[in-house]
């Protein structure tokens, strides 16, 4: 197993290097000169030239990339020219909010999706299966900003049970903190469960046809054990993949949902950086999000090996 993890870690290095290169290119090739943005419209050409020289913007692009990469490897991601806040501090400040939201949303999505998927797979072709697959399909075509607005209208405006926007740190007001996550987490979970349900349902229907399920029945095992141990584990590879992709995406912040519910997460940081043309923050956040995505997928690869011993032993 250690050898397996080691091999995968080595594969990770070129991927991460490519991530830094792409991130750098995206930020560098965006229209607009950083020096102009900082100095404003009134800047004289001399001043701009001086700032460009000071920031190293007059160097060839490959030199700038290597200098930046050198800094990044030393933990220096640069700082915002507007607020003076370092990229690292800005990301670390917002990260807990996005992670808390991600955990709630994924947990809810799985909690709704898995039982419904098992129900549909066991009763495949029945009325309940057709109803739930239809519902999931309908839900898939409903955008999250609409769900957010509907939830706000119902639970914040009409019933007044939950706050529509705002956020308080967990350390100040734990209950208030959790309450502020309920609606955004449900909004995200509503977009997650139909996908999770559909992939698990179809994998599980295929697994239930396998000989080893007939064998498990012939052994006289309880139906719950057959479904949850013999069928769920081998059916969950696609589910794990999709969940991993979702987690990776949500670590980078849920742009729309964080904006609607005014949650100060990574998504809001990114949107703010784009509006303010704060390229340094933008570059740092994109690098962070992409790296997070790669690492989550690495964990997913590891989970494959946990779920299926044939992968662990280098077969299949």
């Amino acid at each position: 197993m250690a050898k397996f993890i080691g091999r995968r870690l080595i594969y990770l290095l070129p991927v991460l290097l490519a991530v830094t290169l792409l991130t750098f290119l995206i930020a560098s090739l965006l229209p607009g000169d950083l020096a102009y943005t900082i100095l404003g419209d009134q800047a004289t050409p001399e001043k701009v030239a001086a700032l460009r020289a000071q920031m190293g913007l007059d160097l060839p692009i490959w030199q700038r990339y290597l200098l930046w990469l050198w800094d990044v490897l030393h933990g220096d991601f640069g700082r915002s020219f507007r607020t003076g806040e370092t990229v690292l501090a800005a990301v670390l400040d917002r990260l807990p909010v996005s992670i808390e939201l991600m955990i709630f949303a994924e947990a809810l999505g799985l909690l709704i999706g898995i039982p419904l998927a098992i129900l549909c797979a066991v009763r495949s072709g029945s009325a309940i299966d057709r109803f739930l697959t239809g519902l999931a399909f309908g839900k898939l075509s409903l955008p999250s900003f609409m769900v957010a607005i509907l939830l706000i209208y119902l639970f914040a405006v009409q019933l007044g049970w939950l706050p529509a926007t705002g956020w308080v740190p967990f350390t100040e007001d734990p209950i208030g903190n959790l309450r502020s996550f309920v609606l955004p987490a449900f909004t995200l979970a509503f977009a997650e469960w139909p996908v999770l349900m559909r992939v698990l349902r179809s994998d599980m229907i295929a697994t239930l046809q396998e000989d080893y399920i007939t064998m498990a029945k012939a052994k006289g095992l309880r139906p719950a054990r057959i479904l949850l141990v013999h069928a769920l584990k081998p059916s969950s590879l696609t589910l794990v993949t999709v969940t991993g992709i979702n987690i990776g995406r949500l670590i980078g912040g849920a742009l729309i949902v964080e904006t609607i519910f005014a949650l100060p997460g990574i998504g809001r940081l990114l949107v703010g950086a784009i509006y303010a043309r704060d390229f340094i923050i933008l570059q740092g956040v994109v690098l962070f999000v992409a790296t997070g995505f790669v690492l989550v997928n690495f964990v997913v690869d590891m989970l494959y090996a946990v779920l299926d011993p044939r992968i662990r032993h280098g077969r299949a």
Partner: protein, 330 residues
């Protein structure tokens, strides 16, 4: 006749297909005494696997079962799922054809054995593990303790089938159904597995149904043989009688299709010409008539019933039984 362990009366299995209902098993009657062995022989698609699934009540959801399967005095079709579950393992067990697919690939051998013991015998985990080691050793698996932690893909086909047999035997069943237990295995290990099954059957005094397409397999290992063709039992007799005086031309053709060691090299193997009939289109006469060299108009018009002519001890369904003068019976 209260000592019967298993009795099948008029068992039929119909499967819905796009071309209409397929009658996989057609009004089969069978009986089995405790501790006895029955061989069911026939070529692929003759309904022998569906018949075994009917006995085990493991038919596909859409299949329709008619007739009655009585096991230990109870009608299996009338049992609740929970009562049936409790029966499987300690009373009824099965070894499937392909050990590559019948063991769960993501669970260890130990888990798959221990869960069976725990489900029925209420054993503690540690006791169940000890018992599992004994069971693996009993079916001839070397280093059984290490095997418990291994996964099916780390074992050879023959070893996996031994594990499947250990699982089937774990709760001391009264009837073991072995559905082509050696078909998916290398020829060299086939005999070992069959001998293991025969040995354990005798040792445990358990009844066994051995399903195969190979008459050679049932020859020395069963008390009685039922030959199936197109969903019906076409001949049934005590094993020695069957091989000494077979009546049914199909049985004769099956036996002729087994390669013989004493044939000169390059002898053509007599295959049975043609193919089994389309089971979605029942024919009026004998199902084997189109492929039978003795068939005449009577065979094509009327289906011969499975009859017991007395004396010989065997049953057969044929208008022109072998080694008897034509029409002598009527």
């Amino acid at each position: 006749m209260t000592s019967l362990l298993l009795s099948l009366e008029g068992v039929s299995v119909e499967l819905p297909t796009p071309r209409g209902a397929l009658r996989a098993v057609d009004r089969v009657d069978l009986t089995l005494m405790p501790g006895h062995t029955l061989g069911i022989v026939g070529e692929s698609g003759c309904g022998k696997t569906m018949l075994s699934r009917a006995i085990l009540q493991l038919l596909p959801k859409r299949a329709k079962l008619a007739g009655s399967v009585t096991f230990g005095g109870r009608d299996l079709a009338a049992l609740s799922p929970e009562a049936l579950r409790k029966l499987r393992g300690p009373e009824l067990a099965v070894v499937f054809q392909d050990p590559m697919t019948s063991l769960n690939p993501v669970l260890t051998i130990g888990t798959q054995l221990v869960e069976t013991l725990q489900a029925h015998l209420g054993m503690e985990r540690a006791a169940a593990r000890r018992r599992s080691v004994e069971l693996l050793a009993a079916v001839g698996i070397p280093a059984p303790e290490q095997r418990l932690r291994q996964y099916p893909h780390q074992l050879s086909g023959g070893m996996r089938q031994r594990v499947a047999i250990a699982i089937a035997l774990s709760c001391e069943p009264r009837l073991l159904v072995a559905d082509e237990p050696t078909t998916a295995l290398d020829v060299t290990v086939q005999a070992q597995i069959l001998d293991l099954l025969a040995r354990e059957q005798k040792r445990r005094h358990m009844a066994m149904i051995l399903i195969t397409h190979d008459l050679g397999v049932v020859a020395g290992r069963t008390d009685e043989v039922a030959v199936m063709y197109a969903g019906r039992v076409v001949e049934r007799a005590p094993t020695p009688k069957l091989f000494a005086h077979m009546r049914m031309p199909y049985t004769e053709a099956l036996l002729a299709a087994i390669p013989k060691l004493d044939s000169p090299p390059h002898t053509a193997l007599p295959a049975i010409a043609g193919r089994p009939p389309d089971p979605t289109r029942p024919m009026p006469g004998c199902s084997f008539a189109p492929r039978c060299r003795y068939a005449d108009d009577r065979c094509r018009e009327a289906k011969p019933p499975l009859i017991d002519p007395g004396r010989s001890g065997g049953l057969y369904a044929c208008w022109h039984p072998l080694a008897l003068p034509t029409g002598a019976r009527t």
